[in-house]
Assembly symmetry: C2
Homo-oligomer: 281 residues x 2
């Protein structure tokens, strides 16, 4: 290091470090050694980062006291920021050219855009901020980008359930499930090594219709003796009749009709009312 490290440099690198390692506790000692500065200075640095993040509504810096203490950053959207993101998503999806045959909705472009994935990841991570989550689960293919984004902000691994046997996964556990919309029996499976007994799992997927796929992932979680913490989808579609699962959070809700002409309406899902109370800001 050729540079004398001042407070201003420490603040830049500290912010970078905390953002790149969300939910990871780092001791004052570690930072103190990294920057060659007194623990008391690091402590002051942390309170500047904390205050700034909180003021801009982007997350909280939590400090843990004691010998094994330190600080970590937890990405968290304020109600105001969350509302803004959901309004943006509604506007992006509310476009009848997204309507596909069978009442499906084209979303692949949105789920491949970094700036959207960053926002959605932070949004969903906010919901599980105070929950004990060990792993994020999704099913191939379109749930993957969302699951990965949430995993990045919770800083926990994600696992991908697959639709058919793949030689490169090794031994697997599989379950049968009924696709809620088509009523066909399908099979999903997960590599045996990827999920530990007792793990706390959040399920993330792109679209919820009848809930058959979601229910399949729930059975898979039971087969591994793991625990379901929550379920979240990007968009919830219409479904006539009763869904196979309850308690799933959705960012947006989409209503479609193909007759007499193409019709698609997007509106906010149940996320805001489920995650924030009246008192939140």
């Amino acid at each position: 290091m050729n540079m004398k490290i001042r407070r201003s440099n420490r603040l830049v690198d500290l912010t970078r470090f905390l953002l790149e390692n969300p939910h990871k506790l780092v001791s004052l000692k570690e930072f103190s050694e990294r920057y060659g500065a007194a623990k008391s200075s690091i402590s002051e640095d942390l309170s500047i980062v904390k205050k700034t993040m909180s003021e801009f509504g982007l997350g909280q810096v939590a400090t843990v006291p004691g010998a094994s203490g330190g600080a970590y950053f937890a990405p968290k959207y304020s109600k105001e920021n969350a509302t803004q993101v959901i309004t943006e998503l509604v506007e992006l999806v509310d476009d009848s050219s997204r309507l596909l045959p069978g009442g499906y909705v084209y979303l692949s472009d949105l789920l491949g855009r970094p700036e959207i994935l960053r926002k959605v990841g932070q949004l969903i991570a906010t919901q599980y901020l105070d929950r004990d989550v060990d792993v994020i689960m999704t099913i191939e293919t379109k749930g993957i980008p969302l699951a990965q984004s949430v995993a990045m902000y919770l800083n926990k691994p994600f696992v991908i359930v697959r639709n058919s046997s793949h030689i490169t996964e090794g031994s697997t556990v599989s379950v049968n499930y009924v696709s809620g919309s088509s009523k066909r029996i399908k099979k999903m499976e997960l590599s045996r090594r990827t999920l530990k007994q007792g793990a706390n799992v959040v399920i993330i997927d792109d679209f919820l219709k009848g809930g058959g796929t979601m229910k399949g992932m729930q059975s898979l979680i039971r087969e591994f003796d793991a625990n379901l913490v929550g379920m979240n989808v990007f968009a919830e579609g219409e479904f006539s009749g009763e869904r196979l699962v309850t308690g799933c959070t959705s960012l947006i809700k989409v209503t479609t009709k193909e007759e007499p002409s193409d019709y698609l309406k997007a509106e906010p899902g149940n996320f805001l009312t489920k995650v924030f109370t009246e008192a939140d800001n």
Copy 2:
């Protein structure tokens, strides 16, 4: 905003903003309005961020002069940091329990860990720092997490090529390809709306053996009248005979044998020699 915004607060939020929006040019005016500070102060803030990032070998802050000018952050690993990440990856993969039947290697756990994906994303983004890239392409399923990570750090969208027709993709373009290792003819396809004519494409995948899948993606790029900028894989396996593609960069190289007993050896791929010159640090 209840807080008086000082330089220390600006540095924290500016760092966060630049990291969250890599490669995005932001004008001094925009920052100046966001923080209620003079452009000259913002300019000084930016040079502090620039110096710190460069000193820690984590990226460069580029400033663009003139009326439409501003600054952007480009994540970039120094040769030292890149070498360290590749050494880490080699150690993680060099474990014969990862050997699967047919000479395949189990990597799904690594490709689901945020801290690894962050490093690999920054590493591969370093290779395309000065290239004109419009979109990252990968094929389902295991290439997706890597492609997404690279896309996040280049701040460009990624598209997912699929193995079979999916109703939720709308109209698609498909090509046939020969899987280099199994010699079977397969079909891959991409939604027509996802890739624009003339787009500059980087292909990312998890594993390279014969190169058949990679060659298939190259034909798909030609079908869309788009341009191939480069190809990158996490791991390169052994292949007896000539590969169907040349010029692919690999982070690690894996040699396996099943007879007389399970054998797996991981070593650095060609990344370091392809991306850095002797003079780099």
